[in-house]
Amino acid sequence: MLTGTILYAIINSAILALTAIGFNLTFGISGVANFAYGAFYVMAAYGVWMLIHMAHLPYPLAVLISISLTTLAGALMYRFVIIRIKGQTLSEVIATFGIGLSVLELFRYFGFVGFEYTLPVFVDKSFLIGDAYVDAQRLLIVAFAVVLIIALWLFTHYTHLGLAFRGIAQDERTSLTFGMDPDRIARMAVSFGAGLAAIAATVIVPLGSISPEEGYDVLIKALAVCIIGGLGSSGGVIIASVVIGFAERFTDSYIGSHWTMIVSLAALLLVLVIKPSGIFGKQKELEERI
């Protein structure tokens, strides 16, 4: 039982990290809290479904097209909506949340609800590890999360664009004096965030089915992970995912499955009370020290 619980806790952590990483990237770099994040997630999943079942494209191609389209949608949202209200945090939240709501509810309105809306798994196999059965898709998610996190780290530390992202995240006006175009970088941050949501959707959705509710669920999960970890901190996202991931699985196994949601929300409240900037809200800490 213990090996199984630990195994599924790791998988759960990987899923949480994958869902939160895009939201965190967008917020950390452009300062935009993208509340349409869940809608992008669901949109990408429906996109793949439609491309497979309506356009009859092969699965891998459908995934690639859907991810690119979602990335583009993020860029368009920045270019036509967010740019006009940038800097008014409340308006940003209302606008992105409104866009997210309308996209999700449109899917519901057009009847995209039901068990047939599901995506195929990449590999249909399962393994016995210790005393627990695990399917290949779940193991793939873990591998994917690890690879994606490493890739993002390399991107932000060794490429021109990645370094510019980190410059803007730390001090926007100073970054301007080195020739960066802040709107271009912010647009990319929003679109990369949407792209990461799409990537997360295409690997995670095969475990269940696609529904508009999933959008709200993903947004809440991403928010919880980011707030506990410290908004804008990539290290925080990883730690928070592991903390929540393990806490959820262990309560599920040893206390009762109906307590799992409470555990993560309680953790959220606890962190907000004790350390409102999150576990790794270090940007602020450094500032105070200077």
Binding site: L163, T174, I290
Partner: protein, 248 residues
């Protein structure tokens, strides 16, 4: 090289810069001397184009209304409406006041971020020159910039501006908060990069004493208006400057 004609900058109805004009020839070191709130930083922001970005951001935010009148000419071209990133590409680089650095990144990484427009080997080359100007920085290259002292951060800030390979370097209060010894090191470095690299420099400062011997010409600003101009030596011997800035 650079010409400012009749600059007027308003923040809402407050006048920060009032009919300010200046000319800068290639290879000069120009000082802009003035006390707090004289309009030095506004002038630097107007020359570097930051004010345009500030104006756009404030407008989106529904905040302060910023109005700019007058013209800025660079190499004979009117650049008054160019955004800051275009001006950087033309060779006008500003180092902002209060040692702007990226506190979360190491010293070496700060250079990499600053070199956004440059190739890796160019960055390395300039970094070597910066380390020769400021040897202390080399031993601190792995430390987070946020943990450097004020003087070290100022050295880093100047070094970062150099990585962009400026033709015209704008330094906004580079001596702010530095000890006399550190002030001298920074002024020596400014002289060196002007002589050996041929970079034209405009620096704004309220401490006239270490600045006046170094600059070719100076502009004295008060309440956004030009009150006095002349060579460094002329300004140094001016009784009004002596009274206001040297306390003699």
């Amino acid at each position: 090289m650079l010409e400012a004609e009749n600059l007027m900058v308003f923040f809402e109805n407050a006048l920060a810069l009032n009919g300010f004009s200046m000319q800068v020839k290639p290879g000069e070191i120009i000082g802009v001397i003035g006390s707090n709130s004289a309009g030095k930083t506004t002038l630097m922001n107007t020359l570097s184009g930051l004010i345009i970005d500030m104006r756009i951001k404030e407008k989106r935010k529904g905040g302060e209304r910023i109005t700019v009148y007058g013209r800025v000419l660079y190499k004979g071209k009117d650049i008054s409406d160019c955004p800051p990133d275009q001006r950087v590409k033309m060779g006008i680089v500003l180092s902002r006041e209060r040692h702007p650095i990226f506190p979360e990144s190491s010293v070496a990484e700060n250079f990499l971020i600053a070199g956004y427009l440059r190739k890796r080997h160019e960055i390395i080359q300039v970094k070597k020159y910066v380390y020769s100007l400021f040897p202390t920085l080399e031993s601190l290259r792995k430390r987070k910039a946020g943990f450097l002292s004020g003087g070290e951060q100022q050295m880093l800030a100047i070094g970062m501006a150099l990585v962009v390979k400026p033709e015209l370097l704008l330094l906004d209060e580079p001596l702010l908060g530095l000890s006399p010894l550190m002030q001298k090191a920074v002024m020596d470095a400014i002289l060196d990069l002007n002589k050996t690299e041929g970079i034209t420099v405009i620096l704004s400062e309220q401490f006239a004493r270490p600045v006046l011997p170094v600059i070719n010409r100076g502009y004295v600003v008060e309440n956004g208006m030009l009150t006095l101009t002349g060579t460094g030596k002329e300004l140094m011997n001016n009784p009004e400057i002596k009274a206001a800035y040297f306390g003699v």
